[in-house]
Symmetry: C2
Subunit: 205 residues, 2 copies
């Protein structure tokens, strides 16, 4: 692509560094900004800068936060000894949306994935193990995605805290509500039968 | 969506103002920036700011430029009395890529589209008509996308310069009707410029 302006070229190049944004999309976005009032671009740039330079991670759970402790960790009405282990902040937001969890979170910042060069020491695992060792935690809920990397991460943490006085559980794996049984994959369907739950239990929602 | 940080929320909101970027995509992009070195965000923000505040539009053709006159208009080897009328800078880039046009451009900045509230006076049409009136132009090539709005715009300009000493042509309809100019392949686009036809001819259809 040949640009008539170095400023335009630089903006398009920076924009196309974002994941899933090619040169053509970047150009479309940048030209859109040019057609909008200058204030929109100023606000976008300022918001990104402020976010990147001033954002903090909660000292306790590693969630994104404006303060030293995030709103969830500093909320006295949340159950302090029930911790849900998740991959990133998007999972926190997804679970918070369901309003069915009243404990705290622990954000790992990723999953163990040797293929991508992510080992256990690149993740926020040690502080979690320390919390358990200090006896602050009664129950740990693993809520990582049920993929190979997620299972590996679950297992690694489980080995670290084995023998300590803590209950571990994972989120239920089964058929999604509203799904057709005949289209479910064999592993999921098989597990959902092995891990069947009392009928009365399934009525709670 | 509930955010644990106002800074994050602001960044996501600003990002999702871009066309085709929803809240979920914006969050994905912003979290990506958080995982990258701070310099990437700084460079992106700076490039967008510089682009929006310092970019100029060529005094002659309205193309995006770093100088008062763009590189094409100030190139003495380009044919000065042959002007190709296009919708926006992406079309200039697409035609330049074919290397089949050696004249100048005139960027309208849009198409007449009453549905979107864009009338002739919102476009850069008057300077083009003035150029023709001053006798600077021998031939005008209409290279707008062959849609209803493009045809309307062609026809509006044609009526404005009717009777003046200028040849008008449109790019050949090798481009499928309804297609966007920027996505046409180079051969088709190049040929459609070489095989341009008198504007009166294109009215019969």
């Amino acid at each position: 692509m040949e640009f008539s302006s170095k400023l335009l070229e630089k903006a398009v190049n920076e924009m196309s560094q974002l994941p899933g944004v090619g040169k053509r999309t970047a150009l479309r976005l940048v030209l859109h900004l040019l057609r909008q009032p200058e204030s929109q671009t100023v606000q976008l740039a300022q918001a990104l800068l402020n976010m990147r330079t001033e954002i903090k991670f909660c000292k306790s759970c590693n969630n994104i936060s404006d303060n030293v402790l995030c709103e969830i960790c500093s909320n006295p009405r949340r159950q302090q000894d029930l911790i849900c282990v998740v991959e990133d902040i998007r999972d926190v937001m997804a679970i918070e949306n369901t309003s069915s969890f009243k404990g705290l979170y622990h954000v790992l910042g990723g999953k163990i994935s040797p293929m991508d060069g992510v080992g256990p020491h690149d993740l926020n695992i040690t502080p979690l193990v320390n919390k358990v060792k200090e006896g602050q935690v009664k129950e740990l809920i693993f809520a990582l995605s049920p993929t190979m990397e997620g299972d590996t991460t679950n297992f690694y943490i489980f080995k670290q805290i084995q023998g300590l006085d803590v209950v571990t559980s994972t989120i239920a794996r089964g058929i999604a509500v509203g799904d057709e049984l005949e289209y479910a994959d064999e592993v999921t369907l098989g597990r959902s039968i092995l891990n069947r739950i009392p009928f009365e239990g399934s009525l709670k929602s």
